[in-house]
Symmetry: C2
Subunit: 426 residues, 2 copies
Amino acid sequence: MTNVQELVERRERLLGPGNPLFYDAPVHLVRGEGVWLHDADGNKYLDCYNNVPCVGHCHPRVVGALCAQAGTLNTHTRYLHENILDYAECLLNKFDDGLDRVAIACTGSEANDLALRIARVNSGGEGFICTNATYHGNTTAVAQLSSIFEPVGGYGDNIRMVSWPDSYRAADGLEGEALADVYADEIETAINSLEANGIKLAGMIACPIFANEGLPNIPDGYMRKAIDYVHAAGGVYIADEVQSGFGRTGRWWGYEESGVIPDIVTLGKPMGAGHPVSGVVARGELLDNYRRHEMYFNTFGGNPVSCAVAMAVLDVIDDEGLVANAAEVGDYVLEKFKELQSRHDMIGDVRGSGLFFGIDLVNDRETKEPAADKARTIVNAMRHKGVLMSKIGEHDNVLKLRPPLCFSKDNADFLAATLDEVMAAV
Amino acid sequence: MTNVQELVERRERLLGPGNPLFYDAPVHLVRGEGVWLHDADGNKYLDCYNNVPCVGHCHPRVVGALCAQAGTLNTHTRYLHENILDYAECLLNKFDDGLDRVAIACTGSEANDLALRIARVNSGGEGFICTNATYHGNTTAVAQLSSIFEPVGGYGDNIRMVSWPDSYRAADGLEGEALADVYADEIETAINSLEANGIKLAGMIACPIFANEGLPNIPDGYMRKAIDYVHAAGGVYIADEVQSGFGRTGRWWGYEESGVIPDIVTLGKPMGAGHPVSGVVARGELLDNYRRHEMYFNTFGGNPVSCAVAMAVLDVIDDEGLVANAAEVGDYVLEKFKELQSRHDMIGDVRGSGLFFGIDLVNDRETKEPAADKARTIVNAMRHKGVLMSKIGEHDNVLKLRPPLCFSKDNADFLAATLDEVMAAV
């Protein structure tokens, strides 16, 4: 423990205060494999949080591809290389027809930053819509669309934030299409508000499963109605699949659940299983039209090593059947959580999509009063019981679980049993 | 050659048109080691362009560090890990006192984007100054400070571009301090222009060796005068060391030649020898004050793998004496180029700083009319003779050479002999 304190102090001295750390007692990790992480004291943790190492920590095929290419050649896209082309071909094959071009960058933030400009060029507009409880990344432009943290200089007058669609705490007890209408109509109001200020809509950006908002049950038809408003105003829909993509939801892409095909899809976190690589997939005319207006070159983006790694990730997801595993084990975990709900009053709602779960904690099931304190207590207690997870949501009361896609039913049993034990003690 | 044509066509289909490629006949690289690159047809090229693989292509120590850490653990900075701390300590030791904090990101663009916000928070201003022939990266915010390419939506009214300081084509035949005054006074004018529009200065960003501008001979005292104006207006000076850093100039940092210690330094390209890692080094109070205003977290930034790679790069630069090599071989190359200048009238000016060279081609030594056509012809001819290089500058007429830091005198002899031959044939 002295060592941990020393590390925290060195960190403050070298990186400054304010660098986020998980848990009241930070974890000092030294090794990972599959769904397991190990700390410096020899403790073992079941990783129920990290979506980035989607194929499992330190997957030998991914590490092998990385090392083989890094030892052979690593340059940039101003020379020709097969890796970026082979990868682009395989990646685009995973998308619906029409989404037929890709640009490769290094981070989800870069991908979203680029997507915003593609939307601006193609719409001729400057206005953007996002939800009121989200985060899309850390560049200056993207931070404008991140309502969770106030950006430097405040928000521009071209930004409108709308309520995230929520079936659990919906106002007025509305349901189904009536509820979808209430939320979707906020998009129309936002567009009108922009226009009233002389600002044309460029587009709307949203995570298709509203992961940061708390992974809500989205009212049926919401996305279709919302996007119809966006398209009618000449804007484009950017699906931020940085969290929901690459099999996380039990389908390849989060947008598949919504029944709406986006104009632009942004990719990040799991794309290289930890190697910094990201992408923007778009309808060809959108990306091509953008490239006629602005030179975009990314020194590290699409280099042979990044593409070799990203290709290995795609291959492992396919060869190990991880999308199907996410669906099957995801259902199994959801059943377990629902069983816990039947015995723990603090669980107000259990939501999930593949291997992405939100457990909405409440102080009272009638009032649905969010229980942020309980969420914090449980996350910290689980860490001491050897399970890593976190929390999200507008009220910071939703347990967030997002394990590597190779998560098994045995892992699920351990997770559920530990959570049961911890909840019983709260 | 059919293969190259096929690759170009696949590229257009998958990535779209408008992705920049070097050379009229693009090069299809398959392997690299040290200063050498190999194409798919078995041709070998002396790499006189790539500063990213600063320690040489596929350096075994860098690849070894990458593979060892990637096979052990790759997470993010919300857990504790020694690598980022050990690296931060070694990196900061390379800087002057006062530059004592670092934030790690993935790309030079991200580093510059973050630096702009640090400047905004600390100055309370929004106005930025850059030169009129530069490029600092590809995010929406940073593209505003890149005069080489017009950004989407045009420039904001908070941007002022000033002439880059140039001793070779200076107007009015001024020299020394008188010339420095003319250029530096443009900074004052820009600040006044911002203030007249109600915009307070946030800062000035510049590459300390003005690499994109054409690597000019900077009039003595220019930087000191310029920065005095910036500081007097409450702004900060951001040195973009993405090109000039890590020993390139024969000193650790480009700013050392100017005699001015920046408030913020941004790092990129060579930092990970091709692995996507970048950084912002700043005076502690600037970074700390920023972090009090905005949460900055970068999923891949500062992960154990990136820091292991960056540490290996630092170690190799130190252990192989590459900073001293850049200075010594750099001087040797410069002598060779000056010898060429004595025999080739098209060489108007030869400039250099360590292993970074600009050869300013002219149609007439008296008028100094820039010879962009000749530059293009020579770059393409050199490629066919097995030497890779490029061109830069406001007039696109400056041969740009920036080889890996392990470049030897033998390499220099081959480069100079080939350039002599090609110039004789133009």
